[in-house]
Amino acid sequence: MNFSAHANSNNGSVMLVGRLTFECHQAFRAATEPLLDAVGQTQLQLDLSGVTYMDSSALGMLLVLREKAETRSMTVALVKPSPCVIAILKVVQFGKLFQILA
């Protein structure tokens, strides 16, 4: 599994690196869920600049995270997605669901 996640609870961001697929879901949850409980954060930012590929399961993980964030009055932003990931997000129209920050 060529994937790693590094959370920064100070600014509510997670940097994801590698191929984000079904096999990564435990690592993804472990990195992102603690940030949902971070006091004072209103937005969780996923830095996707190091992500080279996302499959449909990974898109599903984003949706689950978005739902959990909403219950805590938080939003999820996708930051600096690579061109490959931008193409994937565009096809599934996730710009309608997430703020995408170039």
């Binding site: 697929t21 079904f22 590929y53 499959d55 449909s56 399961s57 898109l59 599903g60 993980m61 949706l63 689950v64 978005r66 739902e67 909403e70 994937i88 565009k90 096809v91 599934v92 129209q93 309608k96 669901l97």
Partner: protein
């Protein structure tokens, strides 16, 4: 645990028995290699404890036999090190020995090593049971998917080719082609979250809903919204289905596309130009959002091809490859050759970068409408006289519309009539009869459709199961210009009357096109494609005509 013990000497055998018997193991003890092989075959031990040196056949040979049989049944071999030279350990491991124990041995150590191997055996057994159960579950889903989609029927629709190169034991994508009415083709590619079983299960409600709705020629937007509602009710958050819905009406030369999360659809024109239709709608089943619907309609001509694929193929194809390897089709190669070239290319991708997803693709070729070569008369003469007239009574409790309509159409086709127009007539008659049966005879309220297709269908099934003797009456009249026997039919007229109280038809004749409304589409079709649409005062009888130019 059943343990085969192959060691020489009563002293060693007694020591092994003393160490292992208290734990409840059942021991079969032999002192000879051939006896050990025979006992392995007949006693089916779960673990073998052997010495290297045995009469007639050694421990190494025993280990090899056990290893060869391990594909069917995993049995670990534990060997006493007595007589094993240091350089022979490697040969023992290669022969299949998993563990060694010194001899003489400590009873507690032997118990620990046997216990460790026993845990391995139990794990292996659980794994095999899991695999068998998993294979059974996969087989069930595969069977259901195949039955539902008819994906085993490859030759049913010449020119409408769709297929998947599976990367898993079951296809996680689903594709369907149906000719809902003569000359009206529906297609779908569904790529649900995940792969294999996870995705395959999610596609079942999608396919069933799609098939039920295209049977009644429901608009793509309504089909999408119904599937979206159904998936939201069935799937947990994080699971959804990317959909491509296609509707091709051959006689009108119109392709409708609803792309919800799949790669661009390409229309390849005979002149070499290419038109693309990007995803414009969210995948179906995503919670907490209004997906919005966008259906694009485009004119297509006979010989044009429609190429679509799932993201399994899209992820492994560059735009340049797409252009040179997949889209170079019409005008150069036949549809069959084009399909073969795509199939070869897709097969070469199966083991490449990104492997792990199913590769689904579709290549449709727009067929020629039946009247393409017919000379077009200048206009329909003003004075037409009936050449043939027939009246029918339909009891939908006995015969379904889809059984009856092809027979009626074949009757009409038996006359010198423009086949393309006859097919449009058939579609309009279907709409009129559907309305008459559902609302006039069965008394179903159109507003029910707003509660979802399934709710409507449940009410319909219940109403059809209720006893009754009333029928829908319909009359078909074929008219020609001069009354000459055998003359070309210039107009087809239909009149459909139901036993219901009727409805207020006036707003529907004057109002705007119903568009995405879940009801009222039948009247819009009759208005748009037919002529002389009229109702009686009560609104339980409708008449319309269609000209055959």
């Amino acid at each position: 645990m059943r343990i085969l013990v192959a060691v020489r000497g009563h002293g060693l055998q007694a020591a092994v028995a003393a160490a292992l018997a208290p734990d409840g193991h059942a021991l079969t003890q032999v002192e000879d290699g051939v006896e050990a092989l025979e006992a392995y075959r007949t006693q089916e031990p779960e673990l073998v404890l052997t010495a290297l040196d045995l009469p007639r056949a050694g421990g190494l040979e025993l280990a090899r036999v056990v290893r060869l049989a391990s594909r069917q049944r995993f049995v670990p071999v534990l060997m006493f090190t007595l007589g094993v030279r240091p350089e022979a350990f490697k040969a023992c491991l290669e022969a299949g020995v998993m563990e060694f124990i010194a001899s003489p041995f400590e009873a507690e150590e032997l118990r620990c090593r046997v216990d460790t191997l026993a845990r391995l055996v139990r794990l292996q057994r659980h794994l095999l049971e899991f695999q068998a159960r998993n294979a059974e579950e996969l087989a069930l889903v595969k069977h259901m998917l195949t039955r539902i989609t008819g994906q085993d029927r490859r030759d049913g629709a010449p020119g409408f080719h769709m297929e998947t190169l599976q990367d898993h034991r079951i296809n996680g994508d689903a594709w369907v082609h149906r000719e809902a009415l003569p000359g009206v083709h529906f297609g779908m590619i569904c790529d649900a979250t995940g792969h294999g079983l996870m995705a395959g299960v999610s596609t079942i409600p999608v396919v069933m809903t799609f098939l039920a709705m295209v049977e009644r020629d429901i608009p793509l937007a309504t089909i999408y919204l119904e599937i979206h509602a159904k998936l939201k009710a069935l799937l947990p958050t994080g699971h959804f289905a990317c959909l491509l819905l296609l509707r091709l009406e051959v006689a009108q030369g119109v392709l409708s596309v609803l792309n919800a999360g799949l790669p661009d659809v390409h229309v390849l024109r005979r002149d070499g130009s290419i038109q693309t239709f990007a995803s414009a709608v969210l995948p179906a089943g995503i919670r907490g959002v209004d997906p919005g619907v966008a259906v694009t309609e485009v004119a297509v001509a006979p010989g044009d091809r429609i190429f679509a694929f799932s993201d399994g193929l899209g992820d492994r194809t560059t735009p340049e490859e797409l252009r040179t390897r997949y889209l170079a089709g019409p005008g150069r190669a036949s549809h069959r050759e084009h399909c073969e070239a795509i199939r070869l290319r897709v097969a070469s991708l199966a083991s490449g970068e990104g492997a792990g997803d199913d590769l689904t693709w579709a290549l449709w070729e727009v067929p020629a409408p039946p009247n393409l070569a017919a000379p077009a008369p200048a206009a329909v003469p003003a004075l037409l006289v009936p050449a043939f007239e027939a009246e029918f009574r339909l009891d939908p409790r006995v015969h379904g519309l889809r059984d009856v309509l092809p027979r009626v159409l074949s009757l009409v086709m038996g006359f010198p009539v423009d086949h393309g127009q006859a097919q449009i007539f058939s579609m309009l008659l279907m709409e009129a009869l559907n309305n008459a049966v559902d609302h006039g005879l069965l008394g179903l309220d159109s507003a029910l459709k707003a509660r979802g297709f399934e709710v409507y269908e449940q009410h319909r099934r219940l109403a059809l199961a209720s006893p009754g003797t009333d029928t829908v009456r319909f009359r078909i009249t074929l008219l020609h210009a001069d009354g000459v026997p055998g003359g070309t039919i210039r107009r087809i007229r239909a009149e459909v009357e139901d036993p219901g109280p009727g409805f207020d038809w006036r707003p529907w004749l004057q109002g705007p096109e119903p568009g995405l409304l879940p009801f009222g589409r039948g009247i819009a079709l009759l208005r748009g494609l037919g002529r002389d649409l009229s109702f009686n005062e009560a609104g339980n009888r409708v008449a319309f005509s269609i000209d055959c130019l």
